[in-house]
């Protein structure tokens, strides 16, 4: 039976601009939930609300019945924009969350070594972000988010700035990591192929003001192949719901 982790029921306005309208969904433990929608539809706002970095204008986001807050809950977020701290070495950046949460030194060391290996950055511990490629920097951000063993891992278009090839490799990598350390993930993207490749469940957002347009449970076997008829079938089904056509 799926255990409910997060309950969302909210609306969000910026001044008079309505961004999210009656967004209602639940996140279950260990699921890989992908939210897709056209760009500029309020997906990032949704991520920030789930991270507890912002409060909804009305309604709530709760985790196990308690209003979500980074001071109370163990949440991690991977931002869309490059978020490595320029003056911190890779090691110091990745251990940041652990230090903030007051984990003791030896445990920090052990966990950091683990996640650095997981994202394949061993040997780069003393490097500064400026010395790393775009894909490596995003892996640092992912490792940093993973390090704290979050109950909820948020990923806000984490591969949006990467080239197609790196993006594809990162998708494989994130799947490998997820299958190894089953985390609850909410992954936000505007790329439908990426959504179908990763998700156990997809929620489709409409254009601004965003409403939930459709929901899909994706039960394709893993590892998924981007070119099988089943995959393409699901993909075109989701695509029809998304307003991807530019006007």
């Amino acid at each position: 039976m799926e255990k409910e982790l997060i309950d969302v029921d909210l609306s969000m306005k910026f001044d008079s601009l309505s961004v999210l309208e009656n967004i209602r969904f639940k996140v279950h433990e260990n699921e890989f939930l992908v939210i897709v929608g056209p760009s500029g539809c309020g997906k990032t706002t949704m991520a920030r609300l789930l991270a507890g970095l912002q409060k909804p204008t009305s309604g709530h986001v709760t985790m196990r019945g308690e209003s979500i807050s980074p001071k109370v809950h163990n949440i991690s977020i991977v931002f869309q924009e490059p978020s490595c701290i320029p003056w911190r070495t890779l090691w110091d950046d990745i251990t940041m969350g652990l230090v903030i949460k007051g984990v003791d030194q030896s445990a920090i060391k052990k966990r950091a070594e683990e996640v650095i290996k997981l994202v394949g950055l061993d040997g780069f511990e003393e490097y500064f972000p400026k010395q790393l490629s775009g894909g490596m920097k995003q892996r640092v951000a992912i490792a940093r988010a993973y390090a704290t063993n979050p109950d909820l891992l948020l990923m806000d278009e984490p591969f949006g700035h990467l080239d197609a090839q790196t993006r594809y490799l990162m998708q494989i990598e994130i799947m490998r990591i997820w299958e190894k350390e089953k985390k609850t993930v909410v992954f936000i993207t505007n790329n439908i192929e990426e959504a179908v490749y990763l998700a156990t469940r997809i929620i489709v957002f409409s254009k601004l003001p965003a409403r939930i347009k459709a929901e899909y449970r994706i039960e394709l076997p893993r590892p998924r192949k981007l070119t099988t008829p089943e995959f393409l079938g699901v993909r075109s089904e989701v695509t029809e719901q998304c307003e991807v056509v530019e006007r």
Binding site: A51, S76, F79, P129
Partner: protein, 263 residues
């Protein structure tokens, strides 16, 4: 790679030496062409320099003494500007409301040139503090405003990363805001130092003291001794240049993360 950088360095040094020689050559040429008792040659200036250095000025105060006094005053004013400007800039940057509510006072004062304060300062202050106050006035605002703006310019994403882990305000200020603004604070200190150096002339000319580079220049201005005046001017330039280089050296050392070469 290292060798290439070194070769670049020597090349730059060579061009600078060349520039200096060209300048001296043009100066000498101008001396020959103008032939005025008020236009000394580089050699005459050098002789005046030696005289001031070894025997001292008309009141037997040696050049080293003048330099030492001026530096000491600069140090006092500049230190006061940093001690007040940096924390105040940080505070007002972090709490925008404080700045917004005191803007009516801060902004007009910022536009009063330090020189305009001189008559007031002569009446109100004596001795060392006259200098410190004028230099402080000059250096404070670039440092204060520079720090304030740098705090406002901190990348919000860098703040949200620790925030999303539930970090305290103190942690964020210490680990994100401070390291993030440090380069710009140092740059504004460098600007402030330049202005402090400009103010020393004005400050020393009102000081009523006997020692200081500005005073030395003034003494020889009354005698129309151009060679000694030029010595004073050059000394000011060279010391300013030296202080600036020290700052740049320190910056490079501290901010290794900015200097590293990307792959």
């Amino acid at each position: 790679m290292e060798e290439k950088i070194n070769r670049e360095k020597y090349k730059t040094l060579g061009y600078n030496v060349l520039t200096l020689f060209l300048f001296l050559a043009i100066w000498t040429l101008a001396y020959w062409l103008i032939k005025s008792p008020f236009f000394p040659s580089p050699l005459m200036v050098f002789n005046a320099f030696l005289e001031l250095l070894i025997h001292g000025d008309i009141e037997d105060v040696k050049l080293g003494m003048h330099i030492q006094q001026s530096l000491w005053r600069i140090f006092g004013g500049f230190a006061a500007a940093c001690i007040l400007g940096i924390p105040l800039g940080l505070l007002m940057g972090l709490y925008g409301r404080v700045y917004d509510s005191t803007k009516v006072l801060i902004e007009p004062i910022r536009f009063i040139p330090p020189v305009a304060w001189i008559p007031l300062v002569i009446v109100l202050l004596v001795g060392y503090f006259r200098f410190v106050f004028i230099i402080w006035l000059g250096a404070f605002f670039p440092i204060f405003i520079g720090t304030l703006l740098s705090v406002r310019g901190v990348n919000p994403l860098h703040i949200e990363v620790p925030k999303s882990f539930g970090a305290s305000r103190f942690y964020i200020i210490r680990n994100i805001v401070l390291p993030s603004v440090l380069p710009e604070v140092l740059t504004s200190m460098r600007v402030g130092l330049g202005i402090a150096w400009e103010c020393i002339m004005a400050a020393e000319m009102i000081g009523g003291e006997r020692v200081g580079i500005g005073i030395m220049i003034l003494k020889y201005a009354q005698l129309i001794r151009m060679d000694a005046i030029i010595v004073g001017i050059i000394v000011i330039g060279i010391i300013g240049f030296g202080l600036n280089e020290i700052f740049i050296f320190v910056e490079k050392r501290i901010f290794r993360w900015k200097e590293v070469v990307s792959i």
